[in-house]
């Protein structure tokens, strides 16, 4: 009775100004969240907790991307509970998730910065044999010791648009990359004009003064890091290089841009006018950035100058020239996969072409700002990548950046002036600070299978946001300590919160299967689609461990199918064992995973659904599009 009255009160309170948030339960499948996953959605944003490096972190993703990822690529059915709440409750929950996300983001960035500082301090200490006086020469200085290896730890993003590593290496040690980006004339015209403007506004010696200012700032960097030394140092170096680009009227590197040849992308007077306006806008930005006080103005200036140069080249030649916006660690599809997934990839190629055409055709409709230009640049890069993949037989599939980041290794054109003693003290303090930071993060976010996982944290966050009013605002309180399994937690949400509606969004394969059942003789469809050998809706995805039967639509036969899938897992493991000296045990690990995933099926628990590697929203059916 009490519960009924509470629900009634919530209902009456909410109808005045009803808002809805979604609680999402994502079914199990082989892969990273094999036991299923949960998330909450407020408007266009989905929040969910993910495991990363032993910690459980809050992630924010746009709803369209989230649903496409889980429902189509990972081929999982989604269960969506629409929870009715008042506008005030909706705001409280949404604001709390957002606040937590940004606070966590900052904390993890602090740790990342601290780790970079540690590496830099160690390297500086190790290479502290070269006399400081020789470290100020604006040119090549031999590395006293090799730079530490690491994932982008000592890279200068953006500098690679104008410089190669070979520009800072001894002659003959590094070779220049090859490409057909020829921008000498455009660079000369743009950068000379920028230099003139800067001289007019800030005096003739502006560039020289600014360079001295930056070099001095580098030399006087504080060894007491506060997690900012590496960042500050690379920012200042990027500033120095940006000024050098202007001073030397440096063209883009030979692999920093590409031209879209052919009849497409014709520039009519209206489009040309838009590009000219953007050109003026970017020129103004470049002048502002050269005197900006923001710490990373150098990177922004490098990007802006690179775009100015390609724009200039486009306007002069009448053919589209764009900066290459793929990152160095882009995922590349090999020739073998390109052959195997020809159908899926041809849909994507068509989509890239259509996107590019739509982008440049709509150019004349609205004023072009930097964000729109970035979008144009991205679509052009995608299309160009498909065009060149014909000859190259590889394709950069993943890794495009909204702003180009082409990087070079850290050039030692200027180094901070630290004594060995200062460095040792700073390193000692830095180690202590990092330890404290790491402990803090572990204390707050350490993953635990039973007590701190993606389910418990969602409920913990909801309860934290609403506090003592949770019952009153949601109709019930879900104890995060007692609800740790995605499947049962969803049932608890239905039972406890004021759920208005439940929607089941079938996985990609299930949806396609339903269509086939409508159009063909059902037993035939079942027989054909039940296994990977004859299925028309599934091509083997190398990310999936070997299996024979899909078990999501085979309740009664599930243990039998599971047994056969287990045998497939054993087979792959044995094959992997033989192959392990050559693939570092990768196939063996996949086979073992397959076996583990198939065992629950013996107990009627569905796991094996298969997944898709190269589907695009266009190749999925209209009804299957994310958000439907």
């Amino acid at each position: 009775m009490k519960r009924f009255l509470t629900l009634l009160a919530v209902l009456l309170g909410n109808t005045a100004n009803a808002y809805t948030f979604q609680y999402l339960y994502i079914e199990a499948n082989e892969g990273s969240s094999s036991g299923g996953h949960v998330a909450v959605q407020f408007g266009d944003d989905v929040f969910h907790y993910q495991f990363k490096n032993g910690l459980i972190r809050l992630f924010k993703q746009d709803a369209e991307g989230f649903r496409f990822d889980y429902r189509v690529l990972q081929n999982r059915t989604l269960h969506v509970a629409d929870v009715d709440v008042s506008a005030a409750t909706f705001s409280l929950l949404q604001d709390h998730f957002k606040l937590l996300f940004w606070q966590q983001d900052r904390q993890f960035k602090q740790l990342q910065a601290a780790e970079k500082d540690h590496q830099l301090l160690e390297w500086l200490l190790h290479s502290h044999t070269t006399p400081p006086s020789s470290l100020q020469i604006p040119g090549y200085i031999p590395h006293p010791s090799p730079l530490p290896e690491g994932e982008g730890i000592f890279k200068l993003p953006g500098a690679g648009l104008f410089f190669n590593d070979s520009d800072f290496a001894p002659v003959g040690q590094l070779t220049e990359p090859h490409g057909d980006c020829q921008t000498k004339a455009s660079a000369k015209s743009i950068l000379a004009s920028l230099r003139t403007q800067l001289a007019l506004q800030h005096g003739n010696g502006f560039l020289q003064r600014r360079k001295v200012e930056l070099t001095t700032a580098i030399q006087h960097l504080s060894a007491v890091t506060n997690g900012r030394l590496s960042e500050r140092y690379t920012d200042l170096l990027n500033g120095l290089l940006a000024l050098r680009v202007i001073e030397e009227t440096r063209p883009l590197t030979s692999d920093a841009c590409h031209t879209l040849t052919g009849p497409e992308g014709h520039l009519d007077p209206q489009k040309t006018e838009r590009l000219n306006n953007l050109h003026r806008q970017l020129m103004q930005s470049a002048q502002n950035l050269a005197v900006s006080k923001r710490p990373d103005w150098g990177y922004a200036l490098l990007v802006t100058m690179s775009r100015l140069i390609t724009l200039q080249q486009t306007l002069q030649s009448g053919q589209w020239v764009f900066v290459d916006d793929f990152s160095a660690d882009s995922t590349v599809i090999a020739a073998e996969d390109m052959m195997r997934f020809t159908d899926e990839l041809s849909v994507q190629r068509k989509k890239a072409e259509t996107d590019w055409q739509q982008q440049w055709q709509s150019l004349g409709n609205t004023e072009l700002d930097e964000q729109h230009y970035s979008q144009l640049e991205v679509s052009a890069n995608r299309y160009h990548e498909w065009l060149v993949s014909n000859n190259r037989q590889t394709l950069r599939y993943h890794g495009e950046q909204a702003l180009p980041t082409k990087a070079i290794n850290l050039p030692t054109i200027a180094l901070p002036k630290f004594s060995s003693q200062q460095l040792q003290q700073a390193l000692h303090q830095q180690v202590l600070d990092t330890q404290q930071l790491t402990q803090q993060l572990e204390q707050n976010y350490a993953y635990h299978l039973l007590t701190r996982n993606c389910v418990t944290e969602i409920f913990h966050t909801i309860n934290q946001a609403l506090g003592a009013e949770t019952q009153q605002r949601l109709g019930g309180v879900i104890d995060e300590h007692l609800n740790i399994v995605p499947f049962t937690a969803f049932a608890m949400v239905q039972a406890s919160y004021l759920v208005k509606h439940i929607t089941v969004l079938p996985s990609h394969r299930q949806q396609q299967l339903a269509k086939q059942y409508e159009q063909e003789f059902p037993p035939l469809v079942y027989a054909r689609e039940s296994n990977v050998v004859s299925a028309s809706l599934y091509d083997y995805n190398p990310n999936d461990a070997w299996f024979v039967f899909f078990t999501d639509d085979a309740l009664l036969l599930r243990p039998v199918f599971g047994a056969i899938n287990s045998v497939a897992g054993v087979g792959q493991s044995l094959f992997g064992l033989v192959k392990s000296p050559f693939d570092e045990g990768q196939l063996l690990a996949t086979g073992m995973r397959g076996l583990l995933m198939s065992l629950p099926e013996l107990a009627f628990i569905n796991m094996r659904k298969g997944s898709y590697k190269f589907l695009s929203p266009d190749s999925a059916s209209q009804e299957n599009l994310p958000g439907q």
Binding site: Y299, L395, L403, V485
Partner: protein
């Protein structure tokens, strides 16, 4: 019989582990995490356009204000703004009025008023009158 019991135990055990293992692993790292997505993606990084960018700036600034005690580190704050703008394809965020409107909205949301508000406004805008106006616009646009 003993073998069968052990087999059942193995199945039950693996089922439990899998059912309980209900968390996605994040495979995002470094620049890939900043990437727009796969080549098949329809520019999701740009979805929502300027409004989404402004909203991100507002949320980030609000979180920054709420979690910063004492002196505000403006350089650190600006680096965070650069990261948000970078994901949206904006390099010169200082020339984008949505940046300052978003900051203004966050100041209002954080209920910063009077002298405190004026100080923040001046510092975030680096005393630039146009930027201060944009912050004020964002501030006034909130109820």
């Amino acid at each position: 019989m003993f073998v069968l019991n052990r087999f059942n135990l193995l199945i039950a055990g693996s089922a439990c582990v899998l059912i309980l293992n209900g968390c996605s692993f994040s495979d995002s790292s470094g620049s890939i995490s900043d990437s727009i997505g796969s080549i098949s993606d329809s520019s999701s990084s740009f979805s929502g356009g300027s409004a989404k960018y402004e909203s991100d700036v507002e949320d980030y600034t609000y979180a920054y204000l709420k979690s910063t005690s004492g002196t505000t580190d403006y350089a650190d704050f600006q680096k965070g703004l650069s990261d948000i703008a970078k994901k949206r394809g904006i390099s010169d965020w200082e020339s984008d009025d949505h940046t300052y409107k978003g900051i203004g909205k966050a100041l209002k949301k954080a209920r910063i008023e009077g002298v405190g508000y004026e100080t923040y406004k001046k510092n975030f805008a680096d005393s630039d009158t146009t930027k201060m106006k944009q912050i004020q616009q964002g501030y006034d646009s909130q109820d």
